[in-house]
Amino acid sequence: MTERTETEPAVLAHEETAELLDVQRLVVSSAATGRRVVDGIDLRIGRGETVALVGESGSGKSMTARAITGLLPNGLVAGGSVHFAGHELLAAGDRNMRRVRGNGIGLLMQDPFTMLNPLTTAGTHIAETLRSHRSRGDRPVRGDLTGEVADRLAEVGITQPGAARKYPFELSGGMRQRVSLAAAIANDPALLIADEPTTALDSTTQREVLRLIRRIQLDRAMGLLLITHDLRVAFSLCDRILVMRAGNIVDAADPVTLRAAPTSDYTRHLLAADLPVDHQRPDLSVDAPGADADAVPLLEVTGLTKRFGTRRQLRGPDGGSLALDGVGLRLSEGRSVGIVGESGSGKTTLARCVLGLEQATSGTIVVDGIDVTDYRTLSKTDRHRARRLVQCVFQDPYSSLNPSHTLRFILTEAIRQRRDNGTDGTDGTDGDNEDDDAEVARLLADVGLPENYARRRPVALSGGQRQRVAIARALAQRPRVLVCDEPVAALDVSVQEQVLRVLRDQRARGVSLLFITHDLAVARHMTDELVVLHRGRVVESGDTADVLDRPRHDYTARLLAAVPTGEPAWLA
């Protein structure tokens, strides 16, 4: 295998000296308004070369890929030139483009959950690609294909017998992405375009899929255009990196050069915003009070178990599916406890139980002396007090704010609700004479937004700004515990930092955080203690630094190893 990788590119390069893909002055603009999404970029990929297009959302990176493959959404038009293996693609008709896609260029998209047809088996997906692009003369018979499909699946590491007969819903996200990859490369394309191929996957699966792409790319000396928001993934995988911003390429270099000496301010900014996992950046740290084992914790969860299922399943022998299995944790005043784990580990279920949005099957949750395990059974005063004490910041800032109302309305409503809930004596009532508008302005200032934003509706804000409004809404209750459920997972790197700073400021003011994240680098910076969840069980917990520097459990070690380092060795 390794011999092939060294010889084949040379042979190919000998045969065909021109670039595999040569994009010149590519412009993608709106047909109606003329606004440019991609503003005249040049891009060249040689045979067997790997190039990354890195940028944040809205930078135009995905539209570049779509323009190259002729898959622009309605209303957008492309200009300039795209040469692929000697053919001009922009001028090619639909028919010719179809031949190029699949045969010449393979496409791998972000979301493995919607990319495969749910009514079609894994094997059929691949067979379909094989069949549709064969010339009529040598269309292979059915028996041939079964064997070939198995070969193709084996190439992407799916070797279990019968895998080809499985439907997408029977496969995990990583497996689906492998099937998609097998289908994308079934016709041995000379170029693979992978658009955020691992963004929707768990970190450990991400590494496996990236390794697979790397190996296949080397084996076949295939060109690769990787589109990603993650600089470190690009560093590990690619020969050349192009950094895109607002439709332009602002930096182009090999990984080593780019890391050492980025030419543009933007790239420098991106590199600086990247959080390290192995140490804490001093500018984000907080002097948290030390752990005091004797103190009464502000939030204490003991033996929390949650089962999901229908009433009959819950009564049956398996008792439904187990999302949380005897989880316990303590959060003391002013501390920050992180909960880390992959998707399906029960992190979010735990948060929802604490917030009373989900009813635990057994176990107890105590907040400042109030047993809130079942919000419905609380007295009105206790319920109001508990609601005020514990507030939440949700993951998706695009749906956690009501699109129908202005920020002033959203914040004023929360402020009035706090007053209705009454003061509980623990909270100084100093601000309660403040008039609503003044308090709205102060809340916006707390999260770093200008006062005049109060008139806006959520649609007029970017994702990061929305998330800060969501934090302001939570703060309007003057909570002592802030449950943050992946608060920065949906945000771009440069925006993440702003939101984390807002949360850090709140920590500095003594608000305790229950911080749920899959990102260990974020956990390193935002938490004092860590709880590692795996399939609903706590497998390890302790001081954040201890857990991350000296993981005692296999699973924690696996999670740590899956964090991209930016070194090529990470994918070796």
Partner: protein, 285 residues
Amino acid sequence: MSEQVNPVLLRTGGPRLGVAVPVCAVLAAVIAVAAVAGRWLAPHDPGVQDLLNASTGPSATHWLGTDDFGRDVLSRVLDGAGSSLLGPVVAALGATLLGLLLGLMAGFLGGAFEAVIMRGVDLLYALPALLVLIVLVGMFGGGYWAAVGILIVLSTPGSTRIIRSAVLGQRTLPYVEAAHTVGLPRHRIMIVHVAPNVLPTVVATLLLDFVAALVALSALSFLGLGLPPGSTNWGRMLAENRTLLELNPWAAIAPALLIMIAAMSVTIIGDWLHGRLERGRLDHD
């Protein structure tokens, strides 16, 4: 300010204005003006008979000719616009408001509310509305407004179902959960947070209900139920003037055409408006 590009803004597949929508808007506006001011716009008194000039075709004095009593057809359709459209408007408003209330309660509160409301809805839904309407009005009389009342009851299940499903789509969104965690009472979340977000569906339901009610009430009037003879209701006029098809076809075609145009233009506008409102909620305002 470094704004991110909202991916929604890039999607340009929103509803096109095209030709149909403006044309329908103009037609609907003309009909609306006639409904409000038809009585005063009418060139002749709609009730005055002129038996010497009965059943004549269109002429300079009578643009749409006269009916078999010699009454001016144009004046009569103008006069009848208000009474023909008011009933459907009331029926649609009633059914949609009831549907909104029940749909919100069933969708948002769930539990026993939902069970009771939705089973009731299923029950009413199983009845053939027009048939029930004809039988009830025919048997018990009660006139036009009784028919409108029955129509409200019969069309509420449809609006309830549609609005409930829109509410179900909103109920699990994080902004609703956020409102719960802030501690807002349920009725406030339902009315202040969920209701505005199902508005596009409500508007579409309102317009579709209007069209259904217009057709149903016109049919009822056509059958002679609910309204006295000689009334200028379009359905009634269509029924009475169908015998004149050979002498002055316009006496029958005009009211028929108006019912059709009113129904069609409102349907098309409703469809477009729904798409626009849905999109407007996501886009910049």
